[in-house]
Amino acid sequence: MTIKKIVIVGGGAVGWSVAALLRAQFPRELVVIQLIEDSRKDALSVECASSRIHSFHDLIGLQEKICMLDPYTHFGLGVMYEGWSYDSQKYMLAGGYYGASLDGVDFQNIYIKNYLSGEKNDLDDFSLNAVAAKLGRFGHPSSDSQSIYSAIKYGLHFQLDSYADILKSHALALGIDVIIADCTAVSRDNNSGNITSLELDSQHSVMADLYIDCTGEASVLLGDACGVKCASDDMDILCDRVAIGYRLQSSLLPSIAVLTSTADGFFKVIPLKDRDVIVYYFSSDLIRENDIETMLATWGFTHVTIANYRSYRREKFWVNNCLAIGHSGARYCDLLVSPLQSVRDSIVRFLDLFIDFDNVDASRDEFNRLSHIELDNINEVIELHMYASQHHSAVSCRYFSSHSLSSSSAHRLNLFVSNGRHTHCDLSLLTDIEWAAFFIGNKIIPKSYSYDVDFLDGERVRDFLSKLKAVIFESAQKIPKHADYIKSLLK
């Protein structure tokens, strides 16, 4: 068995995620893995990762404590959406569970029946995650499934340069070779289309059996060298700039990211340990860059940088012996789904499908097919988010002047509106209750609910809901204060 070689081009959180996973999973005696760390700056500066991050960290063997020792990393309990479909709108998409079922009837239907009967409870009040987050509390979930605290689901917020460093040290410890250089030329075999070697500015030339393009939007290997084009602009949200800045905080902020719609775009504010970071997507024909800078300054955000932004996906993500992970293959705005989560999903998918260096045709086709399905699902989330806010948010309104709902989004919407039900798809991004929280948060309320709620006595249901709310609130108050918890954790 000859030893094979994989070269990853581009570092950053994306490149080092790929490196760490492959090094952790591919035997060292069979595969050499080299990472060419280039001088390019990451387009993403901060990530609000959902609870799905943990299984990835388990796969690469990275302990959470290492991440938490970092001066920026913060726990995340959910995202608050503000002012999208009406001015006073505030609802959370919290991870974890909402409420509880009663006699086998699921919570969503109980909630909806009660809502339709006039008791417009705030759905957030039934999420331990949301209530705890708003109270500035945090604790790890209980491993005892009988405990109410097992309902907590948390993610992590990262400053990405710093997170990339964590991943890098981890990957180096696993045995990754690193070369610090920029790639200056790519040679390809004219017949097969395979990449044959890379020329580096360090005068080296490297050859590999598989090349992984983590060069971001530049897409040095897949786009530039292999000529894979952008397929469509279906994910375009009509914002062409993104401004990023931060403001230091003297005390720890609650673990909630906030996503707010404005007259010229929308912004996300993500709390880290010592600061919060703003990522503002806007349309340059609605507001000038200078005005954005001034506005952010009045809010206290400094070190503002503004970059061009566009959404796209390429026709393929893996051709010949070249695989693109991250922005080199596709880019979309992180309205609901973290782009780095789809990076993690992509590498895991690759790992799952990659069986042999010399037999990749069918794996490649399947990888490309699944990747497009995943992007279709992301697009569906973006589309429905825009749809729900089209009469209030400037960006969403513009979006619908040039888009219409895809048939799958329309079906999902109609199914929820008519009977409060959910359709299921491969590689689903949100759970049923998360979809329900999204719709209800935007005041899209089903006309009807599942028949089995009628098996329950109305009085009993009202009593159940008010007790549930009280129990959740009391339980949340018993969770430690976030700052205290972190202090004791890092001791």
Binding site: L30, I355, H411, S418, Y451, D452
Partner: protein, 503 residues
């Protein structure tokens, strides 16, 4: 109660589908006063499909609260650990589709990759050797799986062979006991709403008119409501599944001990089933009439019985396919009225069950929202197509050259998604886990051997893997040896069961 709630359900047709539906709906709507009527006629026979099942049937019985021992006594049931496929793929082939896993995954690499490497390096042991279900089936052994997940004796699943007519009879008693009203009669006419075409009522030959909010068509191939009245289109799949006839005959039990598996033996233009029950063995020959005459088919079947025939052979004609909309307006087709797939993988009762489950998941109100029935249809289609493709795969993946039927099957083009899936398995051994059954076992059994195994396992020496596989096989052998014979096990259950105490 909601003013839009469905208040009356009319099920047309008894038989397995009708009574399973009636029982499940009656159980579900026990807390409220749902009016459920089932119309059937003694004059119309039932097909009585699917004497062989897959493990999901147990969930259905559990939902209804039916005690397993009672069920076994009542329906003359026996245990089933899988399906043995003989002469499939190649004359002389003999493999089991087991109800349960193969070996164990190690380091995130599925077991069949380790087996593949050993084959490439000279080993001849069949994949069955590493499956608890397959090994126990071959040895004629059965006991309930252990609840201790650490024990090898927990590492399999099971289903039943049973008498479908007795099952329907039992479910009828069950349903009638919880307020399902049975009416004897034949549908003579249907009354549709002139505005929206919904079924308002049916008139029976006795002159009775039955109104309802929701109609369930369990009338079998005829599809009296869904087809004749609502004209829901049928999608023909017979170009992939060429068998269009079956002949069935029960025979006396053989001298041999009870086999806890279904036998599916490939013949020259179709295949033959053998399903052992407590009191007889069910046999049938599914064949393609383009390639084989009825007489030839009957001769093949009768020649291959392992006991005296107990009745005259019965012939069935069918066409593989599915109705495009199993739910049309206020009518839902469940069972053969919705679609037909040959019983090669024992899925007939399973498909009835899926229809019922999805009907409960998407149970309508009187508004009958289009999105709701569309989602029901979409999910049911997905299930039909999944099983359809799995069955097509058994025909496509063959290297037989002894008959025109098999050669034509080998050369046919199959649905794209299946072709892609097979290509992926052949070139990499990758299994899409959304697929039906123990996919790798069936592909490999059919002779579709992946070209490569996962390169990561090259980090282990041949010796280490060989020793590991030998250990698994040895442990399975020891576990199987400790199990009782299926025959003895079932006798013991029957001896301890108080018969005749329903519910």
């Amino acid at each position: 109660m909601n003013q839009h709630s469905i208040k009356k359900i009319v099920i047309v047709g008894g038989g397995t589908a009708g009574w399973m539906t009636a029982a499940a709906l009656a159980k579900k709507f026990l807390p409220i006063n749902m009016d459920i009527v089932l119309v059937e006629s003694e004059a119309i026979g039932t097909v009585g499909v699917g004497e062989s099942t897959i493990p999901h049937i147990r969930g259905f019985n559990e939902y209804l609260g039916i005690d397993e021992s009672f069920f076994i006594a009542e329906t003359k049931a026996t245990f089933k650990l899988g399906i043995a496929f003989k002469h499939w793929g190649q004359l002389g082939n003999d493999y089991i589709h087991p109800f349960g896993p193969l070996g164990h995954d190690i380091n995130g690499v599925e077991f069949h990759h380790y087996w593949l490497r050993m084959q490439q390096e000279g080993s001849k042991y069949p994949l069955d050797n590493y499956s608890m279900a397959a090994m126990a089936a071959r040895a004629g052994k059965f006991q309930h799986p252990s609840t201790d997940s650490m024990s090898l004796l927990s590492n399999y699943n099971y289903a039943f062979h049973f008498d479908a007519a007795l099952y329907a009879k039992y479910l009828r008693r069950y349903a009638e006991a919880i307020n399902v009203k049975r009416i004897e009669g034949i549908v003579a006419a249907t009354n549709l709403n002139s505005d929206n075409g919904f079924i308002e009522s049916i008139r029976l030959d006795s002159g009775i008119t039955l109104g309802g909010d929701l109609f369930i068509d369990c009338t079998g191939f005829k599809g009296i409501l869904i087809d004749k009245v609502l004209n829901a289109k049928f999608e023909d799949w017979s170009h992939w599944l060429r068998c269009d006839k079956a002949i069935a005959v029960p025979c006396a039990l053989s001298e041999e001990k009870l086999t806890p598996y279904t036998q599916a033996t490939a013949q020259q233009a179709g295949w033959q089933w053998r399903i052992p029950l407590q009191h007889r063995t069910g046999n049938g020959h599914v064949y393609a009439s383009d390639y084989l005459s009825d007489d030839e088919a009957a001769a093949i079947l009768l020649k291959n019985l392992d006991g005296e025939p107990l009745a005259e052979p019965k012939f069935f004609t069918f066409k593989a396919g599915q109705r495009k909309q199993n739910w049309e307006k206020n009518c839902v087709a469940i069972g053969l009225s919705g679609g037909f797939l040959e019983p090669l993988e024992s899925t007939s009762i399973y498909l009835i069950q899926v229809g019922i489950q999805k009907l409960l998941d998407f149970f309508p109100d009187k508004n009958f929202a289009k999105a709701n029935s569309a989602e029901f249809n979409r999910q049911l289609d997905e299930e039909y197509v999944r099983i359809r493709d799995f069955i097509i795969m058994h025909y496509k993946e063959n290297a037989r050259e002894d008959s025109p039927f098999w050669m034509d099957c080998k050369n046919m083009s199959v649905p794209d998604a299946l072709a892609q899936r097979q290509k992926l398995f052949k070139s990499t051994g990758y299994v899409d886990h959304q697929q039906y059954g123990v996919y790798a076992a069936v592909c490999i059994g059919q002779g579709l051997i992946p070209d490569v195994y996962d390169f990561k396992i090259n980090a282990f020496s041949h010796h280490k893997i060989a020793a590991y596989l030998e250990k698994i096989h040895g442990n399975i052998n020891a576990a199987v040896a400790s199990m009782p014979f299926a025959q003895d096990y079932i006798n013991r259950i029957l001896a301890n069961t108080n018969q005749g105490k329903p519910l």
